[in-house]
Symmetry: C2
Subunit: 349 residues, 2 copies
Amino acid sequence: MLENKNPQRTSLEKMGEFGLIKHLTQNFELVQPSSLKGIGDDAAVMDFKEDKTVVSTDLLVEGVHFDLGYMPLKHLGYKSVIVNLSDIYAMNAVATQVTVSIAVSNRFGLEALEEFYDGVRTACKLYQVDLIGGDTTSSNKGMLISVTAIGTAKEEELVYRSGAKPNDLLVVSGDLGGAYLGLQVLEREKEVFKVNPNNQPDLEPYSYIVERQLKPEARKDILEILNKLEVKPTSMIDISDGLSSEILHLCEQSEVGCNLFEDKIPLDPTVISTSEEFKMDSTMIALGGGEDYELLFTIDQADFDKIKGNPNLTVIGHMTDKKEGAHLITRANTKIQLKAQGWNSFSEE
Amino acid sequence: MLENKNPQRTSLEKMGEFGLIKHLTQNFELVQPSSLKGIGDDAAVMDFKEDKTVVSTDLLVEGVHFDLGYMPLKHLGYKSVIVNLSDIYAMNAVATQVTVSIAVSNRFGLEALEEFYDGVRTACKLYQVDLIGGDTTSSNKGMLISVTAIGTAKEEELVYRSGAKPNDLLVVSGDLGGAYLGLQVLEREKEVFKVNPNNQPDLEPYSYIVERQLKPEARKDILEILNKLEVKPTSMIDISDGLSSEILHLCEQSEVGCNLFEDKIPLDPTVISTSEEFKMDSTMIALGGGEDYELLFTIDQADFDKIKGNPNLTVIGHMTDKKEGAHLITRANTKIQLKAQGWNSFSEE
């Protein structure tokens, strides 16, 4: 069930590099008025008028960032776009274009790449971004994906990591820890599958957290909500490496401290029950588990009434003077220094 | 002599991902007024005012696009930037920023990455572009580089592949085939080195073509020359995959044909002598050998007098009606249909 089954396989060699790019990108339409020229020239051309241009890029490596053993290629294409759009939204900018480059070994056929691009197209369509470039090449081993996302914002709309002030409230969208626990479930089922390939795992109880891992969303909707509420965050970052690591980025760049309250951290019931099943502490998972792609931001206390009660937003702490440092206030009311427990690809080898 | 010797080796694990990026990019300054925010937030921010934004991206894979057996890491960093700048110049745009992402296996230490970034910095400095982002991560095997180049141009300055008209002159900068032959020399010396590691190859007679392979330049200077001469190309492309493949791109996108004259193709004396040594046809090398990063463009015949006699530019043919097709007119005055002989990474496996 978890294996990628694909009986068809058309060799990539036959198509050549240009034929391949043309074939894979033929069903992509440009919908953004700012996309003047997409794929097909030496470079793409965009017109952002007087607005600022925002650019972010990420590299995803098979065996390091994803495992094709349980990650369907369509989901991978989707997720590759999403993780980059998330960075653009974290600037309070509108994502408008992406470039997607892939390197694949000859174990991949055309059908596999079509599946991947199908996921890219689904993400582009849902988030209204245009695929405007990329590169398709071969690798000696495995699959590699590089995505660059481009966006635009008026100067006064941009939100950096550096604008938080003492007494600002710390707010997070959605809930945390699901993507990490979803990965644990998938890893466990992979091991079961190795021992008994006929075993059909029941992932139904874990569907929420598995989806958080395999098909995350970028919180474009949060920007729309904040815009409607007339709340402009003072600082913002997306949660790709775990809550504590991201809080420390905000603290460092804004030169402030932080008190984070354990009992305020939003957790889905599936996260709580699965943490117990894995004998893991759910707070530690929220603090250290990455890939949730929620938005973490600070707002002025005066804006509290505007966001109060919004089911998408949770106030989890407040910023302090820099000299007070960054701490977790536990349920038992003890104060623990926050440490970056984020995911480090170099330590996993 | 061709091996990369480095006695020092600091483990990447110790530094972590954020520490590593910070360390590697600490000596990069922002010089472009359009670079509002570089490395250090979720995304970089640029201000191109009313000008258009131009973006191009490339993926370079060890063992496919480069061989560290003879490619020093500093040169590799330099070349990775150059090949992307070349795409921006081929739009007649000014290159202003790059993002550089790398994935490396644990056989690379910090010193190796420092060397690589040293080359990136040298290219950035010489071409006056800012490093504004990127990603550094681990790979299971080998090294992978993804560069995105960003540039800017006024709408009326942009030159696409699609603007050539019948009777336009076909012009190329510099000379062709050197990078490909340089690679042949390096491959041969690598084989010799394998058999006899004490053998010191004499690369002096090949220094021009070896440099064309290891340290290519992007022809920013050609844009300045054309600008001074008040010549705006009707179409343009950079030569990364070989002359014939690039001519066919211009023909296809401009819906024209082309007559290319064999005796006009500019070849360096080293290319001619080394072709003979390798028993290869120098015309075939110019047509099919890639990585020269020269600019290929078309101009209106009325502009001929302006470029005539310029040592950097050679008229090698003229465009025709589409129905006449694209041909090479040989020295013996026979007409041979041009075929894409460009480098295809999928056929090399």
